[in-house]
Subunit: 150 residues, 2 copies
DNA sequence: GTGAATGCAAAACCTTTGCAACTGG
DNA sequence: CCAGTTGCAAAGGTTTTGCATTCAC
C-alpha cells in the first residue's frame, strides 16, 4: 500500500509547486506526517513528539521540529498560531481559519462561506503581494457557550 | 493639559466596558501608553522598553510587559501576533488586520473595505461566541514588490 | 495605610543550533 | 557514496514569576 505521504507527494508534485520533488522520505518524516494525518486535530510540536515516540522511541524532539518545518515548507502541513501559545500543526490544506475555545481549548477549523474569499474584506494597498494569511479566533465554542448560559 | 491616556480612560469608561475604572495610573503605565501613542507604529515589548528607558531610565522590562498586558486587558492597546515573532503592540483600536512585509519588516494596519465585516466570510457553527479575531498577513509590501519586479 | 505595581534576577517555555554519527536514494 | 537528516545537548529569545520595596489612591 502506498503511504498517504507518498500519495500526497505525487499529487503535489504534479501541481505548480515543484518544491516536493527534493523531499527525502526518512522514517521520521513519514512518521510525523502520519501522526498528523491519523488524528487530524491540531497538536503542538510536543504533542506530535509524544505520539511519535510511541511508535518510534528513538525519535527526538529536535527532529520533530525539523520534520514539521520541512513539511510546512513543502506545503503538506500548515503551522497554526493562536496568540503566543505554542504553534500547532494541521494537515488541512484547504483555506480555513482557526478557532480556539477559551474554555475547552479545542481547536476548530472554520471554513469559508460559499464562494467567499479570505482576503475579500480587506482594503489592501494596490501592489501588495500576499504570501500567507492567517486568521485566528478565540472565544467560546457552541458547546461551552451553551453550558455557560445554563 | 489632560493626557491622552486620561482622555481615553474617560472615553472608555463611559462605554459598556467598565474594566478601566480600576486602572491605577502609575508613571510607568502612562509612559508605556504614551510611547505607543507617540509613534503609532508596531513596536515589540523590547522596543517599547528601549524607548521608555530614554524617558525613565529606571523602568524595567518586566514592568513594560506588565503594563502592556494591563493596557491590552483594558482594551486600550492591541497585541499583534504574526507567526512566531515577538508580539507587537498597537494603539489602533479600529477593527483591522496586520500585514508584515517579509523584506522590509514593516507592519501595516489594513482596514476593512467599506461596510465589510471581518467575520462575514467565515462559516462559524451556530452558537459560537467570538471574543477575539486576529488577522495576520505576510508577503511583500507595494514598495518592496515594485523593487523586486524591477 | 494598604493593596497594587515596580524592579530585579531567576526561571519557564518554546524553538533553534552545532556537531558527530547515520542513512536514503 | 555523500548530501541531507538525525539525535543529543546546549544555547537562544521571549515572556513570566517570586519577592522585597515602593507607590497611588
Amino acid at each position: 500500500m502506498v503511504s498517504k505521504l507518498q500519495q500526497s507527494i505525487v499529487v503535489e508534485s504534479t501541481s505548480e509547486n515543484g518544491a516536493l520533488g527534493g523531499l527525502r522520505m526518512t522514517k521520521q518524516r513519514k512518521l510525523v506526517y502520519d501522526v498528523l494525518m491519523d488524528e487530524r486535530d491540531h497538536p503542538t510540536a510536543t504533542e506530535v513528539y509524544i505520539r511519535s515516540k510511541e511508535r518510534m522511541s528513538s525519535i527526538s524532539l529536535a527532529t520533530v521540529y525539523n520534520c514539521l518545518e520541512t513539511l510546512s515548507a513543502a506545503g503538506l502541513v500548515k503551522q497554526v498560531n493562536v496568540g503566543r501559545d505554542a504553534s500547532r500543526y494541521c494537515p488541512n490544506l484547504a483555506p480555513h481559519a482557526h478557532f480556539i475555545c477559551g474554555k475547552c481549548e479545542e481547536v476548530y477549523d472554520i471554513g469559508l462561506k460559499n464562494d467567499a474569499e479570505m482576503e475579500s474584506v480587506w482594503a489592501l494597498p494596490e501592489g501588495t503581494r500576499i504570501d500567507h494569511l492567517e486568521v485566528a479566533m478565540k472565544g467560546l465554542c457552541a458547546k461551552c457557550n451553551a453550558k455557560q448560559k445554563a
